[in-house]
Symmetry: C2
């Protein structure tokens, strides 16, 4: 039998880059707008002007010495200028580093030095937060300050007025030809242990994530949308909306720092967004606003993630606002879109909240498996739990500049640190973080399920469950509860749980607090809760 020569594909090699995203929005959707909120009024800027400013910003950065592969940091809320940076920095071949403004001064200095940022774009209103870190910086040479009111900086770092400097630049730029595998942006995870770890997105993965976010079965981002960017643009690229939205011609609604319920009421009322994503805490805040003050019927879809969304909250969103709530499981490492709780079609409408309360199914492009202690995949029976592992074209395979091989398997899957099971329809259900697992007398207790069950009580505002050592059972759950009813007690909650969870899951140890500490991205900070437990700071009530 003759051998055949391999047949090459004939397709053109057109690199998938942020340049393409930028060009498409600018040429096809010049009249779509970016809406900026100052807490009181909204200013609209057309894509055409944003694109022109991005060209000028690229020229300015080049004047300041930024070359291919250099890092430019942003220290900004969600606003128009941040969108300009999202386009200009990767398109000119530099790398955008979105800095989490909620980190500590030491962490801020750490990530800027670790990324070796050369220029920082800083909101004037965040200047005070950044200032204490300035003396600790090794590589930064220029600050571009957006807005008035920042102190001039002396010493080695030169400070410029962003708007003034940008406006003096020319309106064209010799965009370089880029490799689609080149770095486009870096985002550090807000690790609850150790130093933040950098995930470096490439042009290709940024492009793919934008393309995938446009699918009807994922976020369905489209031209008719007005996206409310509640997740910070320094947190997994605000779930990719600055790119998926721009690529699709959606209006982008930028709240700046004004994400408190009273401000959002005003912004939602005037801008009528159709889509947003938020952590459950923000969703809970909005649900506590009296119905007559907040009209949410403009939304076609809301997505919530970052931590498990209690089923009661999903019900409340549907009943109160008539809006479907999608649960999303994702992370900085996954760009972040990964698993979404769209109900399977045969159950659309029926028992929907039951499905939406699961973490969801992997979106096309993402693969998930659950691995047991012996390294084998567990059966997809909706019961057997294992460590959840991921792979896909927009998932990270490493961290910047550190050895983190224990975060990946030998065959190249990302170890998520989450534990869960998968059912026959490939619905993934997270039951715990690896380190949150409670093993009581040889049986696993899901802290997530216990938290959900507690949150379903009408008088519980928030709840967290962590493990405590126990002589007899090795570990037992400790329930930490925030309630707005002063007389709510452990006995009442134990009765409430009795109908909802296995008997051996019901905690004997209870703590009632005024608030739960949150991480810089709004998740309940279990690391801090465990520290307080170890320091004996909790007043634990024991019942049985």
């Amino acid at each position: 039998m003759a051998d055949y020569a391999p047949m090459p594909a004939t397709m053109m090699h057109m690199p998938m880059t942020v340049q393409m995203i930028m060009r498409h929005g600018a040429s096809v959707f010049p009249d779509s707008v970016v809406a900026d909120f100052d807490g009181d009024r909204v200013t609209h800027t057309r894509y055409g002007e944003i694109a022109r400013n991005a060209v000028r910003l690229a020229n300015l950065l080049r004047d300041l010495g930024v070359r291919l592969g250099d890092r430019v940091g942003t220290f900004s809320w969600n606003n128009r200028e941040h969108q300009e940076a999202y386009l200009a920095i990767p398109a000119m071949g530099a790398i955008m580093h979105t800095i989490n403004v909620r980190l500590s001064t030491e962490q801020i200095a750490f990530v800027i030095n670790h990324a070796e940022d050369r220029v920082l774009i800083v909101d004037a209103q965040l200047f005070e937060v950044l200032a204490p870190a300035l003396p600790l910086l090794d590589t930064v040479q220029h600050l571009l300050v957006v807005g008035a009111g920042a102190e001039p900086v002396s010493g080695a770092v030169h400070s410029h007025d962003y708007h003034k400097a940008v406006s003096q630049q020319p309106d064209d730029y010799p965009w370089p030809t880029l490799d689609e595998n080149a770095a486009a942006a870096i985002c550090y995870t807000s690790g609850t242990t150790g130093n933040p770890k950098g995930v470096v997105y490439s042009h290709k993965t940024t492009y793919l994530h934008a393309l995938a976010s446009r699918a009807t079965d994922t976020f369905g981002i489209c031209e008719a949308d007005r996206l409310l960017l509640l997740p910070p643009m320094f947190h997994a690229n605000s779930w990719g909306m600055p790119y998926s939205g721009w690529f699709s011609g959606s209006d982008l609604i930028m709240p700046g720092p004004h994400v408190q319920p009273d401000k959002l009421i005003r912004l939602i009322g005037s801008e009528r967004p159709t889509f947003s994503a938020m952590v459950p805490t923000v969703l809970g805040d909005l649900l506590r606003v009296p119905e007559e003050e907040l009209d949410m019927r403009c939304f076609r879809l809301l997505v919530s993630g970052g931590s498990a969304v209690p089923p009661a909250m999903i019900e409340a969103v549907r009943e109160r606002w008539g809006v479907p709530l999608l649960q999303g499981w994702g992370m900085t490492e996954t760009s972040p879109m990964c698993v979404l709780s769209h109900p399977p079609r045969e159950l659309e409408g029926q028992a929907e909240s039951q499905w939406r309360a699961k973490s969801g199914r992997p979106v096309p492009g993402i693969e998930v498996r659950a691995i047991d202690d012996s390294g084998e995949p567990v059966p997809c029976d909706g019961e057997t739990v294992g460590e959840l592992q991921l792979r896909g074209p927009w998932v990270t395979g490493a961290y910047h500049g550190i050895d983190a091989s224990d975060s990946f398997t030998a065959d190249g899957w990302l170890r998520t640190g989450d534990v869960g099971h998968i059912d026959s329809k490939y619905f993934v259900q997270l039951t715990d973080r690896t380190k949150d697992v409670i093993k009581s007398g040889g049986e696993w207790i899901s802290s997530v399920d216990l938290e959900n069950a507690l949150s379903a009580h009408p008088d519980v505002t928030e709840a967290a469950v962590i493990a405590v050592p126990d002589e007899r059972w090795q570990e037992r759950p400790l329930a930490i509860v925030v309630s707005h009813r002063p007389d709510l007690g452990a006995e009442e909650l134990r009765s409430f749980l009795r109908e909802r969870v296995a008997r051996f899951w019901i905690p004997e140890r209870w703590v009632f607090v005024d608030a739960l500490e949150k991480t810089s991205v709004g998740k309940i900070d279990k690391k801090r809760l465990r520290e307080r437990r170890d320091a004996g700071e909790f007043e634990v009530l024991r019942v049985s």
Copy 2:
């Protein structure tokens, strides 16, 4: 200023392949179905079983000597087994060659020899069409015949019963690790001049096209869909539906050869599809079915392309069926999704047919430009015409095994051979094929616009306009009309046109015929019309 080392992206390299598409459908949507129509009854097969058969088919092909990079041809209508081939052949690292069964015997032999197919999968009911080509084949060693009734083949080619041979194979396969840039499938264009030219899709471009087809603003392919695959699977992969649908868990409705209106009435009535794509000819056939016999309200969207869709047809679809009709401009070379006529959002609902009647805007990922005779882009003013050129990650950059450099520009864009203009919203309007352009006294007359205007007449079934030489004006339009009203005459049509087109466009030369010849993919065959014109076969009526 210090030099910075380039920062590599940290993202995992997960090749985008047909394997991923196959795995996703099989694991997440095992209960979605492929519906097979035999002209009378429909058989449903679950994705789970299709995926198992694909594994067995891969084993069978390996047994028959198929190795990485080898070509396997399909000579089939749209059916379940064709879907199995779509998955198995590329996933095993071989290359699927979908053969246009409407080619001439010589062309069939040409494409099979040119692609060097080693094995052919053939529908028994198409065996008679293939048989005369068999003695002309150089490389084919095995035939897999789907269904009963085919003659056994003697000589060097071995013939096997597809179902019997597949069923004896094992249920697992050692899928190889594939390069995403490797060839996945080859499709020959039905060139109206010269030999068919092969476009070789890679795994990556196939994957990207499937991902892009899921966007709300493109085809919006999703799990809730039931896709009616009217475009043949040998024509630009049935517009990608076997992949975008499988990736999304849509049901796939396979009409086999039964695409005549009376058969489609039955199929649409029982299967209730939500989405389909078709050439204007098929759409016209369906529009002529009496309303009470055909219920099209199950469709959420219809797409038509292949040739220009007359505005009157778009109106009729909306009025009669209440279904939005999208016009699509694409080609084998573009996988084929490229330009779609979604109205811009500010005009959604208003004057919609006016927008939908334009060819449309490039979908995110595709870039279009119009180039004038001096090689410069024309302004986006909606008037100035130029040659339309394309690029994008799922556009071809060459043809298989031939030098076709005149089809591409020096800077890498595909020259489409279409002429048109682009407006300020980036709506592209095709006015002609390069070779169809009519230049009359130095002014261009659009054959497409004239055809649309003629088609708007209630008694015109179809119309084509071609150029004829003219002593005074160099060229003038010749109108060739099919009408169902025997007394319809040129004078009436000229009056009708007077309100619709510029006066100098109105043809003086008219031909009335019973039918217009079509190409193998259902387009009006202008090449044939020109031949008949040159041979003096038309009885031309002159009026002025």
